[in-house]
Subunit: 486 residues, 2 copies
């Protein structure tokens, strides 16, 4: 049985949920396979758009109830969770819009010329998709989150492996999704849910699964990626893993607005008790400025909150202790501890670029939670090679005084380095907050993601679930509609 | 030392070429890394287009010489090899055109709206690319082939591992490429060549390599794919491996034009001594028609040729013997043996759908060379589940009488099945011949390729070497040119 716990008390909350038995996992995949033709055919695009909107409407109608239940399982707070439901339904509707616009199938026609044949290419759905839900976003990266929304939009039936931290929220969401899909006319098997780690592994190994999406820890993600690679028929594994998200403050910005930067940093670091894959884990600041004092003040004024689970809290405690015990590192500031047995205390450490570079692998690791390391650098020339040596990240940031030509010149040097170590770069802002827009890229070099060419947020996320097919010298009546002559 | 052999005699031909030492492999990658900023920057697009054209011009100028040398190492014949040089230079020029058109960077802008930030996304080159050349295309899939052309176009320096069957051709091509790139102003290190299996493995494991392309056997490709997955930092491996390329003849087509189908099949099967990844290894034909007689006649009238190497000939011999010795299989026809010690004999076998389905894994394996199995099927209803169970293929074909409504109805049923087991479907034609056009998809489900979402032929091949970067709230002067406001 899977039992949720209230992070504010550490006590069990809600009824336990049964783990999904092997035969039921298989049945979900079989049903998903059976749904493929009706859900994935080019003619089903209007059905899919309408069904995604029906799911969004159904979730919105239960938003209050969902947020209340999710708060008992995550302690993320009603305001955040209500907002997250809205983000989730916004994502579903964005894909409906993208489906109606139609360009996502990337239809390309190369007409016959001379000895060359007529060749036409379009994307088709890859087949049933397994989605592994995240702990830290019970809606937007869970049962009906962006992996599910994008795969359903692509024409792929989905089987979700619920996260064990919020089983009741997952069941309630799944019930809502299933009901809305059925009302909208989606074939049975379009969507399914399984519970439990064993069920998740069986799902990933099932020959009927064609691709998988995952949001979670680096360790968990790499283990699942290995399973996908070692299947008799390997499948693509789109894992969004850990990230430290380096932020660089240039000298002009540090001089011009130390308080603003410090307050923004502390807010981004402690948002949601730091439980974001986009948390600013590393801040590179110039030496000899008032910025460090301002950061110490801002962090001291911040407060932590209850973390999502005992395991996540234990991981945070270990990661913070490792930084605190490092010989080259000193504590810069700590905030107020969060409530409950798993309450996180915001903590910021300080080191020099030289110390950091000397033990880069350890000091650049993710510390999931509200902990950061501020690395002081003597000059940008010293900083650039160290930045270039960082592992891949989802996002990086640069703070620059745009009115100061010298700072802009430094920015021109740092941006090309950040481009190579992060999938998104924020200017004069912070990495937390991933806008759900067509141009978004929530991805990045390994190990931030297992497939650096793809995003897990925004409409381009649909590309993960599509593969091309080319048709050569086809009579128009046998072509998919998007490829037929006008 | 690497020694080429003349397939017509089995004797050594040309001077032996030294294997590349470890330090030299490392030096090639270091030089490639150093070339990245100058070759890959957005501002270098005109340079890249001009340089690709310079390479094409230089190869064209030496086409005769290249074809003569390659013929001594491959015995593919002057006409085919001259044509292959032209195809290779055509590919290079096609990418130059694509670069000038500019759309390949997939620039997307999501302007700031309400609380949403301004987000802009564009593709950037992934970094130095390792290319593993193929045996069967000494130009179009080798040193200056489509992997190299697409990676250079993307802005990625390339280090090629030459195929050991044609080392002198590889050196001559590399010398031509290097000279043309230098004359065009490309930075040193933009292109490099290494020889030898050990050098290839060292190249693939080098931390400076960001992605790899490969065209070759399933066994070799999967071994290299595993190395890429197990690196400390895994890299994407775009492998184009083996394929049996099923062709389905529908009853109407079989009745209407048995001779045409038989002649086309025999021609496609024996082209280049069957040494194509697109060779039609499986032909599914209706029972009780004159088609089999026509096929037997056409194949009996065909002739083989010298295969590329002793190893490939041994593999063919083994694969044919396995089919011949299979209890459910009978020989339908054989052609004339090719010349020389490695001369292949075209051979076509016959079996029933029932026998085929009973041992699908063995009977559906690739037999690289001019060997095919004709599988007779009682009805399309019987055939469809067997087709659906085939491993992934680069290409499939369907022969249909477009004037006969019943055949068109059958085609409507078979095409959706072929879409799921092949990356390209040819109607009333044969799988050999891959047009180099923007709509091409030379890919397909695993194990035909290791990355089913990507093509290795046509302009979309450039996408393998690009990864997205998103810029959030950037001042225009810090954005890449493609993302700046008009």
């Amino acid at each position: 049985m899977i039992q949720a716990f209230d992070p504010r008390t550490g006590e069990p909350v809600g009824e336990p949920v049964a783990e999904t038995a092997d035969a039921e996992v298989d049945a979900r995949v079989t049903a998903a396979l059976a749904a493929c033709p009706a859900w994935g055919s080019p003619g089903a695009t209007p059905l899919r758009a309408a069904a995604l909107e029906a799911v969004a409407d159904a979730l919105d109608a239960r938003a209050g109830e969902l947020a209340v239940i999710a708060d008992t399982e995550t302690a993320l707070g009603g305001e955040r969770l209500t907002g997250e439901v809205a983000r989730t339904t916004g994502q579903l509707r964005l894909f409906a819009t993208a489906l109606r616009a139609g360009g996502y199938v990337d239809a390309v026609v190369s007409p016959a010329v001379g000895a060359l044949p007529d060749v036409r290419r379009v994307w088709r759905p890859v087949g049933p998709v397994a989605v592994f839900a995240a702990s830290n976003f019970p809606f937007a990266f869970s049962v009906a989150g962006n992996d599910t929304a994008s795969a359903l939009a692509a024409g792929c039936p989905v089987v979700v492996k619920a996260h064990e931290n919020h089983p009741v929220t997952s069941d309630l969401t799944a019930e809502t999704v299933t009901g809305a899909l059925a009302s909208a006319g989606a074939p049975p098997g379009t969507f399914g849910l399984v519970h439990g780690a064993d069920a998740g592994l069986r799902l990933l190994r099932h020959p009927g699964i064609a691709a998988a999406g995952f949001t979670g820890s680096t360790g968990g993600g790499l283990a699942l990626a290995r399973i996908c690679a070692e299947r008799p028929v390997p499948i693509p594994f789109y894992g969004e893993l850990g990230s430290v998200n380096p932020c660089v403050v240039l000298p002009g910005a540090a001089l011009a607005r130390p308080a603003g930067i410090a307050i923004g940093y502390a807010a981004s670091l402690t948002l949601g008790s730091g439980q974001f894959c986009t948390n600013p884990g590393l801040l590179f600041a110039p030496e000899d400025v008032g910025l460090l004092t301002a950061i110490a003040e801002a962090v001291a004024a911040s407060a932590g909150g209850p973390m999502l689970s005992a395991r996540i809290f234990a991981g945070y405690t270990e990661a913070v202790a490792q930084a605190a015990g490092h010989p080259g590192v000193t504590e810069l500031a700590a905030g107020q501890p969060g409530d409950g047995p798993w309450g996180a205390t915001p903590q910021v450490f300080q080191t020099t670029l030289k110390e950091f570079a000397a033990d880069l692998a350890v000091l650049s690791r993710e510390r999931f939670g509200p902990a950061g390391i501020v690395v002081t650098y003597p000059s940008l020339d010293d900083l650039l090679p160290v930045l270039a040596a960082l592992p891949g990240n989802l996002v990086a940031a640069v703070h620059v005084d745009t009115d100061w030509p010298q700072d802009m010149e430094l920015a021109r040097q740092v941006v090309p380095v950040l481009e190579r170590i992060a999938g998104r770069i924020v200017c004069n802002g912070w990495p937390t907050g991933v806008a759900v827009v067509p141009a978004q890229h929530h991805g990045g070099p390994w190990p931030a993601t297992t497939m650096p060419g793809f995003t897990s947020v925004g409409t381009a996320a649909i590309r993960r679930w599509l593969v091309p097919v080319a048709y050569q010298d086809f009579p128009p009546e046998l072509l998919p509609p998007a490829l037929r002559p006008a």
